[in-house]
Amino acid sequence: MSAPAVPPPDGELASPRRLVDVVLRARTFGIIAVLAVLVLVAGLIQSRFVGGGEIRFILSQTSLYALVAVGEAMVILTRNVDLSVGSVVGLSAYVSANMFGTHHGISIVLVFLVGLGVGLACGIVTGAITAVGRVPSLVVTLAMLYIIRGIDTIIVGSGVVLASTEPNSFLNIPQDTLVGIPDLALAVAVVVAIAAYYLNTFRSGRDLYAIGSDPDAARRAGIPIAKRVFTAFVISGALSGVAGVVWAAQYATIESTAANGLELQIIAAVVVGGVAIFGGSGSVVGAALGALLLQTINSALNVIGISSIWTEAISGLLLITAITLDRGIQLRLAAALRKRRVRLGA
């Protein structure tokens, strides 16, 4: 070991990457801090808010949003966007919940598979048109939003799935808990963990970041962009499909307007969670936390006694605040890195 040859990996000089990592991690902790403050304040005003029931309710509500947000985050990371998630959730919710009425005694696992299948099919179509057709995803998924919702409405007709046709074991899923934590939240936490692990360690996962930060460079580096983008859309579709079944379990009564407009809330959650809207940076953990934050705010406002008509305005304001702060951090970071580069050069 001839030590003098290699410069010591001094924290400051080692890599600008480290600074970026620190800042990004701070971004995630920022959300957690806001969450903590929120829970604390709401809890002080209304102690019911920090009770187990309320927290379980929030976690259970968040599960659905977080599930969709993970898929959406993966799509947004590649500098694309999936506006069709709300329609996929709606379609999957109806088709899967309807299975109980048409096939008596069908197993719940099978119903989840049906939802997954619906989501996969939608994701494959959207992904294929976007990736193979090389057309902007904003337009394609906007069109798919209409098409899937239209198909949903045609299938549903004037019908509606009523809670009475669904077995109690299905409707109880959102309330089921394991050691006090909702099953749904645990399941979604596992999904988030898998997605985070995949994005951080797998080559194809890292590719999503590369594509999002510079599609041109990614192409020149030999990354199969079409394939990766296609995969991201398929995953987003699949997760939305599963979320549709969760939706059915949560709301029991499913009409053709189920999950209408969900896509914007999901994108808001993802962006609040620190995923850059033009891709290349962010994490699925952040996206899930963003969903949790938005849900917590909704509940907190309710519990504190602020009329629920304010929730929409406040979540819009929060989204704008989040991206404005991100922009500030980003500029600071860029300046810091530049200064560091100058110092290294000198």
Partner: protein
Amino acid sequence: MAPEDPPLTPPPAEPAESSQPVFPESVAGEPPGAPPPEAGRAGSFSVLSARMGRFASWEAALVVALVLVFALGVDSSSYFTSSYNLFTLCTNIGDLALMALPMTLIIMVGEIDLSVASTLALSGETLGYLWSHHWPMGAIFIVVIALGMVLGAINGFLVTKVGLPSLAVTIGTLTLYRGLANVVLGPLTVSNFPSFYTNVGVQNVPGIPFLSYSVAFFIVLAIVTGVVLHRTPFGRSLYAIGLNKEAALHAGIRVQRVKMMLFVLSGVVCALVGMLYTFELSSAGESIGIGFELKVITIVLLGGVSIFGGRGTVLGVALAAFVYAGLHSVLLLSNSFNDNDFQVVSGALLILSVLIPNLPSFAQRGRELMRRRAARASSFAADDPGASSQPPTQGIVT
């Protein structure tokens, strides 16, 4: 497969021809006029000119589509051309078409405004709120227009001064403005507007039995927008910004200021449409215009405006609005279709509108792939001394 295909170095001779057969119906009308003056330029310009030719024919395709839709309408129901039906068609599309105009300009410079429907709602609710508090209509007009300016300026400020992406900003303001709109009136509905105003929704423009006021406003505003966009330096600068922001900046165009103006303009137009729409419904209440932003964007993109900016015409957007409205009317009149089918059809149209312009590049990619495959085959063949004459034949066969 993607890594090596070269987007900027196509063989000079081909593109001009290759893009033509894709539009059989429009080619019939175009070739004598458009292509020759541009086809003269060589090299990479031919790609550009081929593209321009293609977009010039987009309007022709829309005219064909419009004729087809109306032919279909006349064929399917004698009721289609009744002035009542045409009037309904006009009232259904007028407001969307009006909002499509500023949206066209904003998409032209490579931005987007998703908050249009929420601006409309907030303006309508404000109108209702102030009217229910006995404000004079003149003062309300001024307040609502000012409100539209402020709402647009907030978008513009966040996009141009703070430097945020308009997609994220306007998703935020979509939610924010809609949320505020919910708060203004709460669950109340205001509907005691004087009939002088609410008549805009039920009466036609005097003398023209099927023309609704909204469409009359649209035609006037579309002409103004068209002249400004296509005939003034300001309008041309929007194309420059959309095609290459850096170049536009270096050419002395005040990119940020222009974008700011467009967002403010969008806010004002949407506020005016908000009042118009409220009068048409003759009531201001919860959740008006939900989802309009998507319909407006659909019309703009159907009109041939590129989502990446820099391409499109006002004529195309106007034609697209009537194709959209005509199709809606036709489907509603035929017994076998309804509103939901229209959703599917308009979505499919939207996908086609972005896929079709890409078809020439598919053909080119296909040929490129073949050529590369042939080249690879020939390089293998080169190892084999006997097969040196093979490559050319393969190239021709494929």
